[in-house]
C-alpha cells in the first residue's frame, strides 16, 4: 500500500499512530477507502475503531503517519479546516445539538450563501426521506433512527469526499438499522468514500465492499467482503483471538 500513490479522491491512511495518555492506543495502521465504496471497520470494543475515525476527523491528535484526502495531506490540520476540505463525521452517540431543529442543524453545517444552503437542505431531505416532514422538529424529539439520519445528513450536507460514520446503528431497532445501512450504501453509490465503524457486523458486512478488523489498535485483517462470509478466521478475529 505504501508504494502506490494515493488514489484520486478517496481516503488514504498510512502508518497512522495515535497516543493518548502515555499509551499508543492506535497504530501503526494503514488502509485506504476508494471513492464510491464502503469500508467497514470492525472489531471488539476498545480496539481503536472510534480512535481511528476521530483521528481522521481531527478530534484526536495524530502522533505519527499521514492522512490523505485525495492528494491533500490533512493530519496536521485543525478540525474546522478538515470540514471544509471534504471530511464529514458522524460521531459515536450522534452528538446532535439538542435545541436546534432539523432545518437549523442542517443550516449551520451547510456551506455557502443562504440560497445555496437552502438548496442543499432540500437535497438532504430528499436523500433522507425519514426527515422530510420533520423539518421543524427539534432534534431531541426525533426517534432514534431519525436522529441517526440527521447526524449523517449533517455530516454529508457539505458534500464531503470522505464520510466517517461511527457506530451508526447504535441503540437502534432492527428496522431502523436496515434503513440506516441502506442510506449508507446510497451515499457510497453517489461517489463518497465511506469509512464506517460498526458493532453490527452482519449488517455492516452486507453493504460494505471491504472489511477491516482492528484488535488492540492494530489491523489484523483487511479483506474484500466476498472472502469473509462463513470464514472462521473472520469470526475469531472479531472476538479478538
Amino acid at each position: 500500500m505504501t508504494d502506490e500513490p494515493p488514489p484520486s479522491g478517496g481516503l488514504t491512511v498510512e502508518y497512522l499512530e495515535v497516543r493518548l495518555g502515555g499509551t499508543t492506543v492506535l497504530g501503526p495502521v494503514s488502509l485506504s477507502v476508494a471513492p464510491g465504496s464502503v469500508v467497514a471497520v470492525l472489531g471488539p470494543n476498545g480496539a481503536g475503531k472510534s480512535t481511528l475515525l476521530r483521528a481522521v476527523a481531527g478530534a484526536d491528535p495524530v502522533s505519527g503517519g499521514s492522512i490523505h484526502v485525495g492528494a491533500l495531506e490533512i493530519s496536521r490540520l485543525a478540525p474546522e479546516r478538515r470540514a471544509g476540505l471534504g471530511i464529514g463525521w458522524s460521531p459515536e452517540g450522534r452528538r446532535l445539538f439538542p435545541g436546534l431543529t432539523v432545518e437549523e442543524t442542517l443550516d449551520i453545517a451547510a456551506p455557502g450563501n443562504a440560497a445555496e444552503r437552502a438548496e442543499r437542505i432540500g437535497a438532504m431531505l430528499e436523500l433522507f426521506p425519514a426527515l422530510a416532514d420533520k423539518r421543524h422538529e427539534t432534534a431531541w424529539r426525533l426517534s432514534g433512527g431519525q436522529q441517526q439520519m440527521l447526524a449523517i445528513a449533517r455530516a454529508v450536507i457539505s458534500d464531503p469526499t470522505v464520510v466517517l460514520l461511527d457506530e451508526p446503528s447504535l441503540g437502534l431497532a432492527p428496522v431502523a438499522r436496515d434503513q440506516v445501512f441502506a442510506t449508507v450504501r446510497r451515499l457510497a453509490d453517489s461517489g463518497a468514500a465511506v469509512l464506517m465503524a460498526e458493532q453490527d457486523t452482519a449488517r455492516a458486512v452486507a453493504i460494505a465492499d471491504r472489511a477491516v478488523v482492528l484488535s488492540r489498535g492494530r489491523l489484523v485483517l483487511d479483506w474484500p467482503v466476498s472472502v469473509l462470509i462463513d470464514n472462521p478466521a473472520f469470526e475469531q478475529a472479531l472476538m479478538g483471538v
Binding site: A57, R95, F97
Partner: protein, 296 residues
Amino acid sequence: MIEAAAQLAVNAAALGAVYALVALGFVLVITAVGAVNFAHGELAMLGGMVAVGAATLLPTDLPVPGLLVLPAVMAVMAVAGLAVAGIAYAPLRRAPPTSVFIATIAVGLVIQHGVNAGIGPEPRLGPPLIDAGVLRFAGIGLAHQQLATIATAAMLIAGVHVLLQRTRFGRRLRAAAQDPEMARAIGIPVRVTVAVSFALAAALAGAAGLLMSNQYLVDPSDGSLLMLKAYIAAVIGGWGRIWGAAIGAFAIAVFETLIAAVASYLVAEALLYVVVLAVLAVRPQGLFGEAAGRRA
C-alpha cells in the same frame, strides 16, 4: 394599597430587567467556555463609569443622553470584554478551570481598584435615559426613567433572543457552546464564537451598568454584589441555561423588592444568601439541573 403594589411591581420590573441583562451576559460566558467570570460585575460597573464619562462629552441640554451614549458604551465594553478574554482566558485554555476562576478574580480586583485609584470611590451619577417626568396612570405614578429602563432592557434582551435563537450565527454560537468539538467538526470557528460571546456579554453588562447609573448611582465597589446576584441567578435558573438565568434574575429582583418593602434591603440580601445556601445544600446540582458541560 393597589398603588403601592403597582409601584413595587414597576420597581421590581425595572430592577429585574437590569439584573437579567447582567445574568444573560454571565451565563453566555459560562456556556461558551464553561468557566465563571468573576469580573463580570466589574464590567457592569465599568459600563456605568464609561456612561458617566461619555455623558460629559455631550452638550448639556440634549434630551436623551443615556440613550445616545448607550451604543458607544456597549461598543467600548465589547472591546473590554475581548480584553478580559485575551488576558484571563486565552492564556489559560489548557490550564485547570480553577486557574481561570482565579484569573478572573484578579482581573476583577484590578478593574475595581484601578477605577477606585483612578477616579476615587465617590458614587457618580450616570446620564438619565429620558426626562425626569412621571406618567400618571390610574392613580399610579410611573417614572419615565423607570419605564425607559424597562423598555431599553427589554429591547436588548429581545435583541439577544433574536440573535441567539433566530440567526444562523446565533445558532452556530449556541452549537459551539454546547459541543465545541462537534461544532469544529462541521466547520464552525469556535474561537470566533467564543470571542463574540465575551464581547456580547461585556456589552450587555455595560448596558446594565448604564441603566443603573442614574437611578442607583455607580461606584467602584458595585461590581461584586452584581456578580454575586448573576451567579445566584445562574444557579437558580439551571447552570448553563441562558433564559433560565434571565428568569432567575427577575426572581431575585422581585424577591429583593418585596422583602425590602416589608423589612429592609439588608434583610433582603441576607435572606438571598440563606436561600442560595439552602438550595445548594438540598440540591447540589442546582434547582433545574445542569445544561452546560465542562470546558472542552
